[in-house]
């Protein structure tokens, strides 16, 4: 299968999930109009480009399905087969608390697994590795990156993800630092884990919060794996790019990035603004929608506290690229005045 064809596959969780996804990926002939050609990735600052608005869905998993998927991730983490009976703790926890829960594997208590319904994320943490602050060895970020790639291969082999739908080369890198100190003024720090996050993309454009996060301990062992998925209704077009199917459609970008850069700064004159590029973003509390890519920014308004200034709690500002007059989508949305408990 060519890399272009593989792009059209959605992240899939289990074989059952794959089966559920399949209909959306088999919507027959491309709906592309002859005069339109999708681009991947869109050239920065280019106005007249054709993009896809895709039907994006966060699967509604039963407690058993979510626990099984988390168990599969744990299997990749531990290089072993996790028995269904070992994930019953998470299944029970998710039955009690469907939106978020974690539990230890029954047969391997050092492994914690969990699921969040909001972004359909599953994860597995190896406490024996993640809780090791004593190992002196530091393999360095390059060796850690090799382990990250091995983990991705394991996830692909287990059919949990299709790495062709991930921006592996552009994976975001961060580190977990460990530090300690005392009241005598001693304070020391060192690297503990190397963290890699490969975003899930469609034609090179990330889907908000979806992707694979792998944390590699400085010893070279994998400490945790987290997978957040989204199912995309798409089929390959004549050039091999993912073309929208179902309710999806094409749109022409008419508002250049430079114009939106200026607009977000005008809309937030005192804020610190971090450009996030194009982004597919499902609005809050929506499990499925046709989503067009938006020009995304992280906006941190300036706050003043006791005469000190700094960036305050931020939000994403997502601007339409095909309508210069449309209001941006904000996430999260300010909700001042919410009721709490009555004060005695």
């Amino acid at each position: 299968m060519s890399p272009h064809l593989r792009r059209s596959l959605a992240i899939v969780g289990t074989l059952a999930a794959l089966a559920a996804v399949a209909p959306g990926c088999e919507s027959g002939p491309s709906e592309l109009a002859p005069s339109r050609t999708l681009v991947s990735p869109p050239p920065p600052g280019t106005a007249a480009t054709t993009l896809g608005a895709f039907e994006i869905t966060l699967p509604e998993r039963s407690a058993a399905e979510a626990a099984a998927l988390a168990g599969s991730v744990a299997g990749v983490l531990t290089h072993s087969v996790i028995a269904p009976s070992s994930v019953v703790g998470l299944e029970r926890a998710l039955t009690r608390s469907p939106h978020a829960a974690s539990a230890r594997l029954v047969d391997l208590s050092r492994i914690t697994i969990g699921h969040h319904q909001r972004v359909d994320s599953v994860w597995a943490i190896d406490e024996e590795v993640a809780h090791d602050v004593a190992t002196e060895t530091d393999v360095g970020v390059d060796a850690a990156a090799t382990e990250f790639n091995r983990a991705l291969a394991g996830l692909e082999s287990a059919r949990i993800v299709d790495s062709a739908t991930l921006d592996v080369a552009g994976a975001h890198r961060s580190r977990v630092m460990q530090g300690q100190g005392n009241s005598q003024g001693m304070q020391t720090e060192r690297v503990k884990e190397y963290v890699f996050f490969a975003p899930r993309t469609i034609n090179g454009v990330p889907i908000g919060e979806a992707g694979v996060r792998v944390s590699v301990h400085r010893s070279g062992k994998i400490a945790s794996i987290r997978v957040a998925g989204a199912v995309v209704a798409a089929s390959p077009d004549s050039s091999g790019l993912a073309a929208p199917t179902g309710q999806g459609h094409l749109l022409d970008r008419t508002v250049p990035e430079s114009e939106l850069d200026a607009r977000v700064r005008a809309d937030n004159p005192d804020a610190a603004v971090t450009p996030l590029g194009l982004l597919y973003w499902l609005p809050g509390n929506v499990r499925s929608a046709v989503v067009a890519p938006r020009q995304a920014y992280m906006v941190f308004p300036r706050v003043v506290i006791d005469g000190q200034t700094g960036p305050g709690r931020g939000h994403r500002a997502l601007y339409a690229v095909d309508d210069a007059t449309a209001s941006p989508l904000l996430a999260p949305v300010p909700t001042p005045g919410g009721a709490g408990d009555p004060r005695p």
Binding site: M298, I305, D306, P311
Partner: protein, 272 residues
């Protein structure tokens, strides 16, 4: 290699005696109800003398619901009903500011939560109370000690509250077992604190906070404390769990009213 919490058996044979030797109760289950206290600020405009700041989304409504559904008890006060005095040390009005009432509010409960705008070691309320809008960790707040002295953990749902560089001069004045926050400027989605709390049933606070509160460039931090040693600090760091009620009892043996910092150890992890 020293794995502080590897398997249940090795943890039991090594960590438990160490913790007990340090005078710690591992489990505070039925000694008193698991309780929380929340001050949440979302409205920051046109409430003089407080300075205008941007309004915020609500992040603790679902947290409260989740905790109550898990058997915890407590209060969540918002905006006008959320007062700086709730976090102000009550034992001395001359040492920590007038009208402090933490012994009846934030420091009367296992978990103290502040949601709103913040800077390193500094938190801001949206509405004034007795003309006060802000509180400084070092100058005003003494959780887990002095009056009240029941708080074991604090969750700071604001920006930059617990940067490593500010810990010795600000955050470490709280006599808690653990504190949760972020090193940098962040956004918080409405239900993320609730998800964190849910995940601590079956996981450690450390794992849940770092796993749940990262992403989008955020740098979450978990800081843990012990009165006796670095080793004990790491034991608690990798065992404390709100949902599983591990180390939810007060740290104890903290400074008395008006006293400065006494001997302690701290350990932390953050993503950057």
């Amino acid at each position: 290699m020293r794995n502080l919490r590897s398997t249940g058996s090795s943890f039991a044979t090594w960590a438990v005696p160490a913790a007990l030797a340090a005078g710690c109760a591992l489990w505070s289950g039925s000694a008193h109800a698991q309780s929380f206290y929340i001050d949440e600020n979302t409205s920051y405009t046109n409430h003089p003398p407080c300075v205008n700041n941007p309004d915020l989304n609500t992040v603790t409504a679902s947290l409260q619901t989740t905790m109550v559904n898990s058997g915890w008890v407590g209060s969540r006060f918002t905006d006008q009903n959320s007062w700086p005095q709730d976090f102000t040390e009550a034992c001395s009005s001359t040492s920590y500011g007038p009208f402090g009432d933490d012994g009846a509010f934030a420091d009367e409960h296992v978990l103290a939560v502040f949601a709103g705008h913040a800077l390193p070691g500094l938190v801001a309320w949206g509405y004034p109370h007795d003309n006060v809008c802000t509180r400084d960790f070092k100058a005003n707040i003494r959780l887990g000690q002095m009056s009240g002295a029941q708080a074991a953990a604090a969750m700071w749902l604001g920006c930059e509250v617990l940067s490593p560089t500010s810990l010795p001069t600000e955050g470490n004045y709280e006599w808690l077992r653990q504190q949760f926050g972020w090193v940098n400027s962040i956004g918080i989605d409405d239900d993320e604190p609730s998800e964190f709390f849910n995940d601590t049933a079956g996981s450690t606070n450390r794992d849940a906070w770092l796993n749940d509160m990262s992403g989008s460039g955020r740098e979450p931090i978990v800081v843990t404390y012990d009165n006796y040693s670095e080793n004990n600090c790491w034991i608690i760091h990798y065992a404390a769990s709100l949902g599983d009620q591990q180390y939810t009892n007060p740290r104890g043996a903290g400074p008395s009213c008006g006293e400065g910092l006494i001997s302690y150890w701290y350990c932390y992890e953050y993503e950057t």
